[in-house]
């Protein structure tokens, strides 16, 4: 009996030691997709087990930074937002993967997608999807109001919203995610670019307090208090909380990421299945067709990981064409491979795909700074002060520019 037990013990310990476990932390936006992909991955590689920790986006940065500060090997794979790459790379958190990239990856993944994982000439992982804020509108509500097409300019946006409100079809034309969080900067970037503004000039001085940047904030304040077409609760809703109103048909217009498409068409989460379509984000200046903010994320291997081989296998699996195709068809994500944009399967199964692809030509990125987090926080606080009418937009942005100058050591 004893011999049998010892044998069993040896066999099980061998089994445990021969499987590698990699720990992955990621945002919960595509958690459902990633859970399914993990099952497929583990079938392909039976000796690798994947533990996935899904965290709300707004908690992700904190969790990664504080955990890795104490134990650099706590995670093998981390989700990296495009705005974190400069900082994470500088802090030595990420493992460069330039020598692991295949020719196929180097040549056929969209430049704009690969760029989010690059800093100072090194590549730190693979992008997982190509994301921007899309303009979602409720076609059904527009039809009921007698409006034949979605608005193409912000003036039309205001006018159409008023028509919908006057007809009692919605309480407010649109709801946004302007709470004091990173999402606010994405919306501000969308508007700043669509009014022809910039964050910094050629000499790296902040200029968002003038021109398009100023017009963007003025429009935000006016849309709530003057035109009254934006739900005031936008001030304390983030870009995930605002989805309820659109999914319930309480608002007709909303701007959100690619994962929202799947939520709007899930009968368990939305009453507007198949009614919500995508159009180009409206413009504020005649010369500009459209503008939106980018928000892609990728997966990277941590420098402290003890299972870098397995981690790379997992990352390249999720970046593979089959998985990217699945992610697009089932979850509405935009793929990273250039050739997938002409993929027949995706085009037939994802009805809004070609509309969404159009938006990818009109994108503004948020600034690429090592001190991005502090920069973002300064801007968030002052934009909020303008939105809560404690300061005028000009005052708020001027003060923000002053503090950004101090932050960047000018």
């Amino acid at each position: 009996m004893k011999k049998v037990l010892i044998l069993l013990f040896i066999i099980t310990s061998l089994m445990i030691f021969s499987t590698t476990t990699i720990r992955v932390i990621s945002s919960d936006d595509f958690a459902a997709f990633r859970q399914e992909a993990i099952k497929r991955f583990e079938e392909l590689y039976p000796d690798i087990k994947v533990e996935l920790l899904s965290v709300g986006y707004n908690q992700l940065y904190q969790k990664i930074i504080t955990t890795l500060a104490v134990d650099p090997s706590a995670f093998d794979v981390i989700d990296v937002d495009c705005i974190w790459t400069p900082e994470f790379a500088t802090l030595g958190l990420l493992e460069p993967v330039d020598n692991r990239l295949t020719e196929d990856m180097k040549n056929n993944i969209l430049e704009s997608a690969m760029n989010i994982m690059r800093y100072n000439g090194k590549t730190y992982g693979l992008p997982m999807f190509n994301d921007v804020l899309f303009f979602y509108y409720n076609e059904d509500l527009l039809k009921k109001a007698g409006i034949r097409r979605p608005p193409a300019t912000w003036d039309e946006f205001v006018a159409f919203s008023k028509i919908l409100q006057d007809k009692g079809l919605v309480k407010y034309g649109s709801v946004w995610g302007w709470a004091q969080a990173e999402g606010l900067i994405c919306y501000y970037t969308l508007l700043l670019g669509s009014f022809g503004g910039q964050y910094f000039d050629e000499n790296e001085n902040p200029v968002f307090n003038t021109g398009g940047g100023l017009k963007a904030l003025e429009w935000m304040v006016d849309s709530i208090y003057n035109y009254k077409v934006v739900d005031p609760s936008s001030i304390n809703s983030d870009d995930r909380a605002m989805l309820h109103a659109i999914a319930n048909g309480d608002a007709a217009f909303g701007f959100n990421w690619s994962f929202a498409w799947q939520i709007f068409n899930d009968p368990d989460q939305s009453s507007q299945v198949n009614k919500i379509k995508v159009a180009l984000v409206p413009t504020g200046v005649p010369g500009i067709v459209s503008n939106t903010s980018s928000g892609s994320m990728g997966l990277a291997i941590t420098k402290g990981s003890k299972n870098k081989e397995a981690a790379w296998k997992f990352i390249s699996f999720l970046a593979s064409r089959e998985e990217q195709r699945r992610q697009s068809i089932e979850y509405g994500a935009m793929p990273i491979w250039e050739d997938l944009y002409n993929d027949k399967e995706i085009l037939t199964h994802h009805p809004e795909f070609s509309e969404m692809v159009n938006q990818l030509y009109y994108v503004t990125d948020r600034p690429s700074l090592v001190k991005y987090q502090e920069f973002s926080r300064i801007l968030q606080i002052y934009i909020q002060k303008a939105l809560t009418r404690q300061m005028t937009p000009k005052e708020a942005l001027d003060k923000a520019a002053e503090e950004v100058n101090k932050l960047l050591g000018k």
Partner: protein, 284 residues
Amino acid sequence: MIIPATVVLLLTLFYPIVNTIIISFFDKKLFYPSFSTFVGLSNYKEILSNEEFWSAFKITIYFTIVSVFLEFVIGLFTAILLNQNFKLRGFLRTLVILPWAIPTVVNGVLWQWIFDSNYGSLNGLLYQLGLIHNYVNWLGKPFMALNMVIIADVWKNCWFFTIVLLGALQTIPKNYYDAAKVDGAGFWNRLFNVTLPLLRPAIVVSLVLRTSEAFKVFDIIYIMTKGGPANGTQVLSYYVYHTSFEAMQLGKGAALSTIIAIIILLIALVYIKSLMREEVEINA
């Protein structure tokens, strides 16, 4: 046998405190802990001249005073009520513990939904009663959001005072009240001349505890508003959290924590000095 106990006490109590105070004199960052230089009092100078610190300080003082005051008053009167004899007394005394037993995080989410501007029950109730004609965005304006968070916190914590004061009330002999009634004392008279003086020790303890907890409030702010809108609910603890873990400046965070600890110490001293006088005697 005292030595092991002392060692444990030293390690768990004094080491973290002393270490924090030491860190506050360096410019330590979260990510390069060994590369820190001595900066003397400059962390303290930077903090005390920073507008954001004073704003957080004011908000924290307001939060503490208003919430502790409300909790104390509600707690005291419910304790007096529950000290009376009536049928469902036992049941109510147990019920009262429920809000206090809810984790703060759950309480925060609960009230967040109640105050939701589109789907919240507060809006629904007031609208149906005809008291408001438009839904209100309770957490959308800085000062109003602060007051709403106070309501959520008071609802959960006033029962602490109820329980502590109820316990103390039960030690007051009934014949003191009888004697006072015979002398012609009404409710308020009895309250201020018999009840409160005899409750003094319990009041001091519970006030010191709740005030220092209220001053250190963090989790309900984190859940309900994250310091917004426009930093309108950013209390000192949230500011420390942001400085240490978001801006990654451990040195400044340590200095802030030290400042907060000193303030709480002063508050406790004030309470104890002013409320703990000599033993109170009632001449029957």
